[in-house]
Symmetry: none
Subunit: 115 residues, 2 copies
Amino acid sequence: MTIFLDDHLSIDWTAVRFDNQKLTLTRKEFELLAMLSQNEGETMPRTVLLETVWGYRIGTRTRTLDVHIRRLRRKLGRFGEEYIQTIFGVGYRFVRLRAARPLQLSSPAAFAIGA
Amino acid sequence: MTIFLDDHLSIDWTAVRFDNQKLTLTRKEFELLAMLSQNEGETMPRTVLLETVWGYRIGTRTRTLDVHIRRLRRKLGRFGEEYIQTIFGVGYRFVRLRAARPLQLSSPAAFAIGA
DNA sequence: TCCAGGTTGTAAAAATCTTGTAAAAGTCGT
DNA sequence: ACGACTTTTACAAGATTTTTACAACCTGGA
């Protein structure tokens, strides 16, 4: 994932809004959540997440993805488990609950997330 | 940031007013604070600050930015840490506390004279 | 159904990376 | 050379990320 910065604009991980509340995310947490929410409704295989967010190759033995998922779920609040579902043996899937817009990445100029 | 000096004008960094008190800043401190306060509310990446204030290119290994931030914070007084926030892994962000106007740089002459 | 073997959850430790800080060293103008 | 300012150095403190170790949990086949 690439993040483009304008000379006078900057990303502030601290300022992500989610479901009407501010989320204080770390960089990796942000990238992971972005990855998931941008593919809302789709199951993202562990291999893909590890590849895109961490650059890990298939076969790498690590539990860091699980740990990050856990921290994200906690930060998402009471419905963390529902927002980020576990697809056993495959990966994770982000779903929108109610009418909440998952991640407000709004102004394109502020920061563009490249696939 | 570039500061233009007229032959007949001398800038007196001593005369910067901040939050109802006079600040005695050095040139670099002033430029850094100006940079930050002019982008109030935005996170200014270290790379940008180092580029604009120091002319350093990305990758330069230096701690001079941190040192200047520290001195600024001290001079800003009791709330230095709150005025200049650290955005971990990115840079710094200046925020206005209460109704205080951070730095009056508006009209070019405004800060030229120590009055 | 129940078990075995792989998969995921989790807390806590360890490792890594970033920022804070004091003090020394270097620079520049007068 | 002196004084004021700036930068570097070297380490401390802090934040984030990864690993470890084990518990809990699926799921397919006996």
